[in-house]
Symmetry: C2
Subunit: 303 residues, 2 copies
């Protein structure tokens, strides 16, 4: 079992959905990622929060085996984000973004964490992602996320990061935006030609697609009946995925497929509650049960 | 091996897509269905065409083992439809609909076909679907399709047909419209509670979902690189599905799953050419190859 380092955001989210409203809930890409990944391996979180960061939230991280020695606590307020989802969850409107201490975040990796072998560059600017890469000593597997904002603003730099990682996890719109191709399999092959061995596209309610050298792997989304809040589903997916990979410490195609299944199972829990409500409650065996459900719901026999 | 009867439309389609334009191509739900199903079992087609129906098209049916004794040839012109797809194929605009002889179609089932055991009610009005059901003697497995037009216009009658069939194959929008539920798994369970043992929802590029008593089965769409014309994909899917079921003559969960795989493989070929261009070319072994691709692209092992 290897340990896993994530660099991303820790935030307080205010979210409105058909299921209700939730204020100042613990969120941020590094948070969702860490809580999911920590079900599998020890996680080191590198992020920044303000002096207002709640002691109970720090405690939650620690209880779940998340090392906070790389979590910077700065003068000022923690990153805040507010958003509202349409009734069918197909659209998301940002109501406010207050970067606060995140605006000047410098992902300085503490010396003792630079030798960590598994690294996830969550959705932060490509300059910061590169800065992390430069500090890591000899990582075995680095994966990244990005978003439309960075792709529009600094495509060249995003592509540079992509060319230097082993894996990328983006959503369908981002894959299309990165490549200018509507056809998703085609877009994924183009991204793979830029460097990463593993390309994963998340399609929300339509599941996820993995592309490796040996071809595609498709997995549906878990059929969740009552979605409460999709915030962080993608980060939770990446956390389950990377957590499983770091646990397995293998790189065969079957291991990556399983990692997608574990990531999807983790994400399916996350959307059933506001913020990290559900992630806080579940254990690895809950995840495993849904992995077996996935197997039942996707397998078929051919003559 | 049982034979299979389909009641639906036979038409001449004029289609524009990014791949080009195709005029007066053989189309219609019963056509796509029959050509796909005939790869597996003998098919009887019940439909109506005008005196202008081309001899070469009749010949195509006969060559593929499609019995045309129920194909009515009436004074007047064959049903015509014209449509245009958006560049990403996500939207379809109808340019014209000329019902012609289809307007007064009476699905009179010839006496010698009333004992056929497998029946598909393609997308025609619910009154006509009921009229077919009344004429069939003791079908073993009847499945149906419908569309937004009928659901809006005559929901009660559509629901009556649903309550009297063994299977239903609709797309995601129709499933939502039928039930008023956004959540697809929930919508499918509601439809199943109305009667049919088998509920299938087609999601286009996102694949298909099957619901039986023992739960859900998800299959992605085949990753087709160059889509030419999606017209008839749903009918081709239903044709491959029902053709396989009639061939298997079994009703276990694994048979239904395989039927979804066969239907999806058939549909993936259909979208690669205009009209029935591709369906005319393929054989059962082409379908089988893609079924094995599906298996490779969806299977994973759990401890």
């Amino acid at each position: 079992m290897a340990s896993l380092l994530v660099v991303g955001s820790v935030a307080y989210d205010t979210v409105e959905t058909v299921a209700g409203r939730s204020e100042e809930q613990l969120g941020g890409s590094a948070t969702f990622f860490s809580l999911a990944a920590a079900l599998f391996v020890p996680v080191h979180v590198v992020a920044v929060v303000g002096k207002d960061f709640r002691e109970t939230d720090l405690q939650l991280f620690r209880e779940r085996g998340i090392d906070c020695s790389g979590l910077q606590i700065r003068n000022g307020k923690t990153f805040r984000w507010g958003g509202r989802y349409s009734s069918d969850f197909s659209e998301r409107e940002t109501l406010f973004t207050e970067l606060n201490v995140f605006e000047t975040f410098d992902p300085d990796i503490p010396q003792h964490l630079r030798s960590v072998k598994y690294v996830f560059l969550a959705n932060i600017g490509p300059d910061l992602q590169l800065r992390v890469l430069e500090q890591m000593e000899s990582p075995q597997f680095v994966a990244m996320d990005t978003m439309n904002f960075w792709i529009e603003r600094d495509f060249g730099r995003v592509k540079e990061v992509i060319s230097r990682v082993h894996g990328i996890v983006v959503n369908d719109e981002e894959a299309r935006q990165l490549t200018g191709r509507q056809n998703l399999p085609e877009a994924m092959e183009i991204i793979r030609s830029w460097g990463p061995k593993m390309v994963i596209v998340k399609k929300g309610e339509h599941g996820a697609v993995l592309l490796l050298e040996d071809g595609f792997f498709f997995l549906p989304a878990y059929p969740v009946r009552a979605i409460v809040d999709p915030t962080g589903a993608g980060d939770t997916f990446a956390g389950g995925l990377m957590g499983y990979l770091a646990h397995a410490q293998e790189f065969g195609p079957q291991v990556f497929r399983k990692a997608v299944v574990y990531g999807s199972a983790a994400a399916s829990f996350n959307v059933e509650g506001f913020g990290v409500e559900k992630l806080k409650e579940i254990s690895k065996s809950d995840i495993l049960l849904r992995c077996h459900d996935f197997h039942r719901m996707t397998s078929f026999e051919l003559p």
